[in-house]
């Protein structure tokens, strides 16, 4: 009896070991698939375009060539766009937080008259909308077409983020605390600003991260709602240079045609790196908030 149990345990151990081996192998493959394209672009941005264009699989830096970055850093329009994106992201995130966080708190209060109806007003926008033409006409009618507000306001509130925020306050602030404060004559404003906000840095970080990522990566709204070249954000310029093949206009006019051609290819990689780098460098540090935000939304959504 004891013996059979032992052998079955050994068998079990072996089955689990094989299984874990497969799991680890799969995880390694997944990580390679995710990282390699990013790593490749990074390598290609500092490698001689001749080597890159041979289609060779790059694994480590070889035949370094930094002309691409030199030209990229000297290319003014890219930095104008960079400035625009930073401006839109900072203003946009601030506006979004001012709109979303207080509303999330108000909707979390069970004693808010008309609460269910108000929540519905927001959730409905997740599943039905006017579509791009009516939104475009709205922007025009408001007179904010081709201004920073056309980039900021349409995305200032996302119903999903609002619900995440509400769920956070619902589970994060005990009802007794609220009642006790009320008995002591604490107003809703004071409670929100002096008690709710200070204990809610997590949700504010989550919201800031969600909104900032969305604002930084905005492309289509810029295409629809902006007109002037000097107002375009990074994503639009990136698309023009890389996908519409305009990167050959970047070098100085004195460069020989061959150098220009050579450069044009490398420039694509440099621009991609420059525009993706900020978020990729920041996110590992704030990602725990990110995961938290998604989780809050899922549990209570």
């Amino acid at each position: 009896m004891a013996k059979t149990q032992n052998t079955s345990k050994v068998k079990l151990g072996r089955a689990n070991k094989i299984f874990m081996g497969v799991v680890i192998l799969l995880m390694i493959i997944v990580c390679v698939i995710i990282i390699y394209p990013i790593y490749y672009v990074l390598l290609a941005s500092i490698t001689d375009p001749v080597t890159v264009n041979s289609g060779k699989v790059l694994l480590y830096p070889e035949s370094p060539y930094f002309e691409g970055y030199k030209t990229t850093f000297a290319y003014k329009p890219l930095w104008v766009a960079y400035g625009n994106t930073i401006l839109y992201t900072v203003v946009g995130t601030a506006v979004a937080l001012i709109a979303t966080v207080p509303a999330g708190y108000a909707l979390s209060r069970k004693d808010l008259p008309g609460r269910r109806g108000l929540i519905f007003v927001f959730t409905f926008t997740m599943f039905f909308g006017g579509g791009i033409i009516p939104l475009y006409l709205t922007i025009r009618n408001l007179g904010i077409y081709n201004t920073i507000w056309a980039m900021v306001l349409p995305v200032a509130v996302s119903a999903y983020n609002l619900i995440v925020c509400r769920s956070f306050f619902e589970s994060g602030i005990p009802g007794e605390l609220q009642e006790a404060a009320k008995v002591d004559g604490c107003s809703d404003f004071r409670f929100f600003f002096e008690i709710a906000i200070p204990i809610s840095t997590t949700i504010i970080a989550v919201m800031a991260l969600f909104y900032a990522t969305a604002m930084w990566n905005q492309f289509f709204n810029a295409l629809m709602f902006l007109q002037d070249d000097n107002k375009m954000p990074l994503q639009v310029v990136l698309r023009n240079l890389v996908l519409m093949n305009q990167s050959n206009q970047m070098g100085s006019s004195g460069d020989a045609l061959v150098t220009k051609q050579k450069l044009a290819e490398q420039l694509k990689y440099c621009i991609v790196v420059v525009s993706a780098a900020p978020l990729l460098m920041v996110y590992p540090f704030i990602q725990k908030y990110f995961a938290k935000g998604v989780t809050i939304g899922a549990v209570k959504g």
Binding site: F127, I133, A276
Partner: protein, 315 residues
Amino acid sequence: MGRRGEKSPAAKKAGRSRNLKKVLSAWQLYVLLLPSLVWAIVFAYYPMYGLIISFKDYKIRQGIMGSPWANPIFKYFQQFFSTSIAVTAIKNTILISLESIVIAFWIPIVFALLLNQIRNLRTRKVIQTISYAPYFMSNVVVVSIISVFFSATGVMNHMIGASNPILFTSLPQWFRTLYIGSNIWQTMGFNAVIYIAALTSISPDYYEAATIDGATKWQQIKYIDIPMIMPTVILMLILQIGNIMNVGYEKAFLMQNGSNTIVSELISTYVYKVGLQTAQYSFATAVGLFNSVVNFIILIIANQIAKKVSDISIF
């Protein structure tokens, strides 16, 4: 307030004033809500009202109300269905969505289940962090990477060692593969977060009991993990089905080029083109409205079915 008819007018009045008092005493909460509410009215509901122009001959000068009704009222809808592009765009939209659900939906689930097996917390964190790196990259960046990676002289052609390079980015038959494949790459890690959270909330007692009974890891996944995350899976499935007509047009638009429009033209990209590039506002709005309504109906049906079958629903 159930049986209204039986109440005396005075009682009704008292009830109403009590309600009013409640609303008034909560005024500070309404103030906190105000910015978002204004946003909803201006940027969500006013555009919904603007949908009326799909039934009108909209002229910018005359405004939404002033523009004359279209004659017949469904003129622009009829116009859409009489174009050859209608069938193509509807077909492309539905195909890309269905293929995404069939191919891509379960991948984050499997990823979450396998990642959950890794007991070393640090390793797990590292893998998870890596997994959602692409989520922070914009569509423009991702499409840029696709365009260099899959170009005629790119790495992919080199790796498969084709003697004649395959033109992945312009051949129609590769469009959906690239679109869905890169979507998986972008969102797998992010979409898995929800499942990972559901998995970590499972009580360790289950696994202990299962181990004592001699269950292998594989059996534990099958009989504990999967049933436990099923509600989350169904919820996510409803949400995805409810977005079946709302394919991310931004990426499709970026991946579009002259030679692949027969598969890459979606309803949404078509709306953008006829609406904003050629200024046919009423027509484009009609096409967009058709899309939203069909989508909404599908959402309701999916939600209803899920409610019946599993008691899980979003509303």
